[in-house]
């Protein structure tokens, strides 16, 4: 990160609350780099978040207007902000438990409306802050605090969910793909359309320790090896990334 991009960061809130190895930091870094490369007007940007680790990516780290809301409702608050003042650029950045589990209703309706906001899901497949419970994106078979014998339920594929709800601009990246992620964030905040970015951030501490991915480098290698850019075929045994 270039030093002039530090204007987008509240330095006084560091050291960050994120655990060592948390992929949310990579998402935050990509977001700040995107703002920096665009020399984005930080006084015309509102970042809205909900509850959980993902709710801390934008607020308090970003030095812009931030709204840290109730659990699952970030998109609903963002709807009010954007509808009441369409000149503001509105980004929702939160986690999978927040946006896709308790708040799933708002996510599909924002996609249905094609509300001109950017929704970024820092998807680490688990409730991290509360100690590692299964979320709606925890893979089948994965171990969590609440699924010690392996998750019996199928997860949401957020790309398919949001596409199915009517969105056009749907992307997925992992923490390994920070550069592509940054480019898509730039595209999203320069547009006036609904964008959804599913970002697999990885949680070495709560998810990794129970699923043989405790080492953050191992988690990143896992993302690198399992990922494949989407072209024509959606492969269910891969992490499909790119534009859908």
């Amino acid at each position: 990160m270039k030093t002039e991009y530090l204007k987008y960061i509240r330095k006084e809130v560091f050291p960050t609350a994120f655990c060592p190895g948390c992929g949310h930091g990579i998402l935050l870094n990509a977001f700040v780099n995107a703002l920096g490369e665009l020399n984005y007007d930080q006084d015309n940007l509102v970042v809205v978040s909900g509850i959980g680790c993902g709710g801390w990516i934008g607020s308090p780290h970003l030095n812009v207007d931030t709204l840290h809301t109730t659990h699952g409702r970030a998109i609903a608050y963002a709807t009010g902000v954007k509808k009441a003042n369409p000149d503001l650029e509105v980004v929702v950045m939160s986690g999978d438990g927040d946006l896709a589990t308790i708040g799933g209703n708002h996510l599909i309706h924002a996609a249905r409306r094609r509300l001109p906001i950017t929704v970024i899901c820092g998807n680490n497949n688990i409730y991290g802050m509360t100690g590692g419970q299964a979320s709606a994106t925890t893979p089948k078979g994965a171990k969590t605090m609440t699924t010690p014998l392996g998750n019996e339920d199928r997860p949401f594929d957020l790309v398919k969910l949001v596409k199915g709800a009517g969105a056009d601009n749907v992307y997925r990246y992992t923490a390994y793909h920070a550069k592509q992620l940054k480019e898509t964030i730039k595209e999203a905040i320069n547009s006036n359309e609904f964008y959804f970015l599913d970002v697999l951030t990885g949680c070495p501490v709560q998810y990794g320790k129970r699923n043989n991915l405790r080492d953050p480098m191992k988690m990143l290698d896992h993302f690198k090896e399992k990922s494949e850019f989407y072209k024509d075929e959606y492969k269910n045994d891969k992490i499909m990334i790119g534009k859908f």
Binding site: N63, V64, D65, T79, A84, N85
Partner: protein
């Protein structure tokens, strides 16, 4: 000064209208520019009027995917500088409670209308009740003050909705307007004035954006998103600049004190009530909303029979005018509390007066008749 005169879009004159419609038109007169709603009986007519008028006035309406989202959108919109509102009934009110608490915590002006119907749960959508009195006060978790007002007729709904906006803007807090199905669907004449006095929030940055600084009762100024203040708005415990303090005992204590004191230190401005025949009485009726209409009829009939009965009608139900209740309670030997619930106001009154307190109660979806009150006097 933040008080201004708003020209009312509706031409001045007498209008025959429904309570729900009067509520919407009062909101428009107060300068409400954002409404988020969700369909629910018996409150939908508020949304219906808003949709029709906002279309002409170029203001923003959004039908949300649920009641929770409507309350969230209202708070989000308020931070862009919009006077914002939502309206619902019991089941929706229950759903809004968490976000209402965030409105209190983030000191966000908003008006929330609850057109009460019977409960619990789905209850009876088209039958009237006053069963949400305590929910209005304590429905959201944690220590807080609440402002809730309860008009008793259609014209008063129009003007009290304007007052609700003024209080919300002045004290930077959500304000609840408690209607009942009976008042919401009542049709009466409203005298619409050409202009109304409105209070618009203090903007700018002459104070930190949130309370907790000294003096604690001072209402902070409220910048909007996009003003360049780079606001940290959070439902977590925060210092006056919005920084989260999730472990700090002193910040929590000061913030809660501030949220309470900015209301409890200004009761003279917030409390409104009406007294009838209280100069010369030995029995007192205390009531609110639609039930107070039967209360006043009962007072008049009892007076015709030579009985010395007076009435105190609460327009502001929360905070409650405790000193007034105490003062009047000392003058009488009996207090009668008619309400369309099973004693929510009566239990409050019992805490403040020493004499006998009896209730006149219904929770069967019917209104209280004056005879029922007279029988208890």
């Amino acid at each position: 000064m933040a008080t201004e005169i708003n020209k009312v879009p509706l031409k001045e004159g007498k209008y025959f209208m429904q309570g729900d419609e009067a509520c919407a038109r009062g909101a428009i007169a107060a300068g409400c520019t954002f409404f988020a709603g969700y369909p629910i009986t018996p409150a939908s007519e508020i949304m219906e009027t808003i949709v029709e008028r906002f279309n002409d006035l170029d203001r923003t309406f959004v039908q949300m995917e649920d009641e929770i989202g409507a309350m969230g959108a209202v708070i989000g919109a308020s931070w862009t500088g919009a006077k914002s509102m939502t309206a619902t009934s019991g089941p929706g009110m229950s759903l809004k409670m968490e976000n209402l608490g965030l409105g209190i915590m983030t000191e966000t002006p908003a008006v929330v209308v609850d057109v009460q119907r019977t409960g619990p749960s789905t209850g009876q959508a088209t039958r009237t009740a006053q069963g949400d009195l305590m929910q209005a006060r304590w429905g959201t978790h944690g220590e807080h003050e609440m402002i809730a007002i309860s008009p008793w007729g259609v014209e008063e709904i129009y003007y009290e909705t304007i007052r609700a906006f003024n209080l919300a803007e002045k004290y930077r807090t959500p304000v609840i307007v408690l209607l009942e199905e009976a008042t919401g669907h009542l049709r009466e004449v409203v005298n619409v004035k050409k202009e109304v006095e409105v209070y618009n929030r203090k903007k700018g940055n002459d104070t930190p954006p949130f309370g907790g600084f000294e003096p604690l009762e001072r209402v902070p100024s409220m910048p909007s998103f996009g003003d360049g203040e780079r606001l940290l708005v959070t439902g977590s415990t925060h210092d006056p600049n919005g920084y989260r303090k999730t472990q700090d005992r002193e910040v929590q204590e000061k913030l809660v004190d501030h949220l309470r004191l900015k209301i409890s230190e200004n009761l003279d401005d917030i409390l409104e009530y009406e007294e009838y025949y209280t100069d010369d009485m030995d029995k007192l009726i205390i009531s609110f909303g639609f039930a107070a209409r039967a209360g006043l009829q009962a007072v008049k009939r009892a007076r015709n029979n030579g009985e010395k009965v007076g009435m105190l009608r609460l327009k502001t139900v929360w905070p409650m005018p405790v000193n007034k209740i105490k003062e009047l309670g000392e003058k009488v030997k009996k207090v009668v509390v008619p309400e369309m619930n099973l004693g929510q106001l009566r239990r409050e009154v019992e805490r403040f007066v020493k004499c006998q307190v009896v209730g006149v109660n219904r929770a069967d979806g019917e209104v209280i008749e004056p005879e029922e009150i007279i029988n208890k006097i």
